[in-house]
């Protein structure tokens, strides 16, 4: 796809977002966690949710590579370039989001000089960089028309990406102090959630950026299956949680369904992110535009899901009465993101949008069919 005039309004929106969001970046860089609404009993909030959203969006590469190299859907290789670009861009956005959420981002070199092999966060960083590296090489291979190398990178990326997305789930699943997070189920659910949200993004890109109707429809069918699986998983999560007889799990689930951010859970996640795309995929299954919009809806609704998953379980006290023992705004079970956190979120989103808008200009070869597929053009 060439850079067209219709990209200009999006570029302006992205530019305005980047400008407005600068304040959030400044706050995070200079004052770190001080201006956030976080506390010691809810230490993770919008920043972690944003990271999880973008890392999920980066799973489009894994989905497409699985479809091409495991299930033999070779036609999807036509969008290999844009998918590779999307994976790289969303990973960068995820990395920025989580780095700026640290109390001391300037000490990230500690991951290298004093690593802890027992920490899932360390392995998350390893696999994060491995995915970044593999996809960077693949992008280079596509640009230089090196098909064997691109194919090798795609094959290598499958286990590496699986490890990355599973590690992110494992990261939460070992936290037994928050039982709504813990358990092996979380690891599997994270991989599925990543495939769904990443699939949503690449489906939208296949149509809006590449005009690939056949590819879009193929991805749409995959999205429908993933969406159905996700709904089953989500039902299992709530059903098992409520029926398991653990009051702390039930309290966390109730906080998701009826708590402070319940409106976003129901409207954005369930309504916009699951049922609307499901309806679009069923009703407009033969319309690439409808399928692409379904993909966009999934992407848009996923922040609410990640936010609910991260914040709600932390609203349950680890010990009954702990939140009342010492009065301070940082020692409560509630969390409301501050303006600075929202602006930082806006900045990261705008960065992603700007990346997709200027991508065709900067990397035209990634935004066209790989050269080795050119003779197959319809």
């Amino acid at each position: 796809m060439a850079y067209t005039k219709r990209s200009n309004p999006l570029l302006i929106v992205a530019g305005l977002g980047l400008l407005a969001g600068l304040y959030g970046v400044f706050e995070a860089l200079v004052y770190r966690t001080e201006p956030t609404g976080l506390g010691s009993y809810v230490p993770w909030g919008l920043g972690v949710a944003l990271y999880l959203l973008f890392l999920g969006l980066s799973a489009g590469g894994l989905l497409v590579n699985c479809l091409v190299y495991i299930l033999g859907k070779k036609e999807l290789d036509r969008i290999a370039g844009v998918v590779t670009y999307a994976t790289l861009l969303t990973e960068v956005c995820a990395g920025i989001a989580i780095a700026l959420d640290l109390g001391h981002w300037e000490r990230m070199y500690r991951f290298i000089v004093s690593p802890s092999l027992t920490s899932p966060m360390f392995w998350m960083l390893i696999f994060f960089n491995a995915v970044l590296l593999v996809y960077a090489i693949k992008a280079l291979a596509i640009v230089t028309n090196n098909q064997p190398l691109a194919r090798l990178c795609s094959l290598v990326s499958i286990p590496v990406s699986l490890c990355f997305y599973a590690t992110n789930g494992y990261f939460f699943s070992i936290i037994t102090s928050h039982p709504a997070w813990s358990g092996a189920f979380t690891t599997i659910w994270f991989v599925l959630a990543a495939l769904l949200s990443g699939g949503g993004l690449v489906t939208a890109l296949a149509w809006f950026s590449q005009d690939e109707s056949e590819v879009t429809l193929r991805l749409g069918r995959t999205l429908a299956v993933l969406l159905a699986c996700f709904l089953i998983f989500e039902w299992l999560y709530f059903s098992a949680g409520y029926r398991g007889g653990r009051p702390d799990i039930a309290a966390a689930l109730t906080a998701m369904l009826t708590g402070q951010a319940a409106w976003s859970f129901w409207l954005l996640h369930i309504g916009l992110g699951l049922f609307l795309p499901l309806a679009l995929l069923l009703v407009g299954r033969n319309s690439p535009a409808a399928v692409a919009w379904a993909g966009l809806c999934i992407v848009a609704g996923f922040l609410a899901y990640r936010y609910a998953f991260v914040v709600a379980p932390q609203s349950v006290p680890m010990l009954p009465g702990l939140d009342k023992a010492w009065q301070d705004p940082r020692l409560t079970l509630t969390y409301t993101p501050t303006l600075g956190e929202w602006l930082l979120t806006l900045w990261v989103f705008s960065l992603g949008l700007a990346g997709f808008v200027v991508g065709p200009r900067l990397f035209p070869r990634l935004f066209s069919r790989p050269a080795w597929l050119q003779p197959l053009a319809r």
Binding site: R110, S119, G321, L322, A325, R330
Partner: protein
């Protein structure tokens, strides 16, 4: 006087035992705390003493005292439960730290290297007791008027507390600025800096009911070992497998 009453203040005995533990190889001591809930009157003196000793900012507390109301009127009682760090034998907070900024020292106390911590707060979510806090750079004097007047201005008010360096881990942490421990995870460390000079943790010395007992679990003659053998003893969230080194007497 009843012969069942103690002949000396338990603090005196604990001090003597502390000196004994430090005189032998200090690395062979294993610090343990026992809190007798029947003696805790909920005065919060331990929590305040801890805040004062470690120069903790607002929002950081190492030893809050939880309160619980039991029963229905007229048969109502209140129960108090101080909650320091449990100094677990199997601490979940240590395993999750990605940069080995926290570990168990030779005496069984979980400590933090403030200069290594990246402030990811993974340990906060992993601790089943909510015993870790993040330092969000709060200042008690934030809302204090700047100008001197009939009452003290901000600078003068800060001089009494916030301009003092925190003494944790035997190092004078600079008066409140933007460096560590701001942005870090912080927790109870059994007042390592006091133990090093032969003093009991501040929560122990400030306990007016002598409800907090501290000492070397490897000393069979110690008061703390005696308390650990009580039939009233229990630990919090045993099912988590953390094996806390803080015991409670019901």
């Amino acid at each position: 006087m009843s012969p069942s009453l103690p002949l000396e203040d338990p603090l005196v005995r604990m001090h003597r035992e502390l000196a004994r533990a430090l005189n032998k190889d200090p690395d062979k001591a294993k610090w343990v705390m026992v809190i007798d809930l029947a003696r805790c009157i909920g005065c919060h003196a331990c929590a305040v003493a801890c805040v004062s000793e470690n120069k903790l900012p607002p929002g950081v507390v190492y030893r809050p005292v939880m309160e619980e109301e039991i029963g229905a009127y007229p048969n109502v009682r209140r129960r108090f439960l101080p909650r320091p760090c449990m100094q677990c034998e199997n601490p979940p907070c240590v395993a999750v730290c990605p940069v080995t900024a926290t570990w168990k020292n030779k005496q069984g106390v979980t400590v933090i290297d403030y200069d290594r911590c990246i402030g990811c707060r993974y340990c906060l979510t992993a601790c089943p007791y909510g015993a870790r806090c993040s330092d969000f750079a709060g200042f008690y004097t934030n809302a204090t008027a700047e100008a001197d007047g009939l009452i003290l201005g901000r600078k003068a008010a800060a001089k009494g507390y916030e301009d003092a360096a925190a003494p944790e881990y035997g190092k004078a942490w600079p008066p409140r600025g933007h460096g560590s421990p701001i942005g870090n995870a912080r927790k109870c460390h059994f007042c390592q800096h006091r133990l090093a000079v032969g003093q009991l943790p501040s929560c122990v010395t400030s306990c007016i009911g002598r409800a907090t007992v501290f000492g070397d679990a490897n000393d069979p003659a110690s008061y703390v070992r005696e308390c650990m053998g009580s039939p009233r003893v229990f630990r919090l969230k045993e099912e988590q497998g953390t094996q806390p080194n803080v015991y409670y007497l019901a």
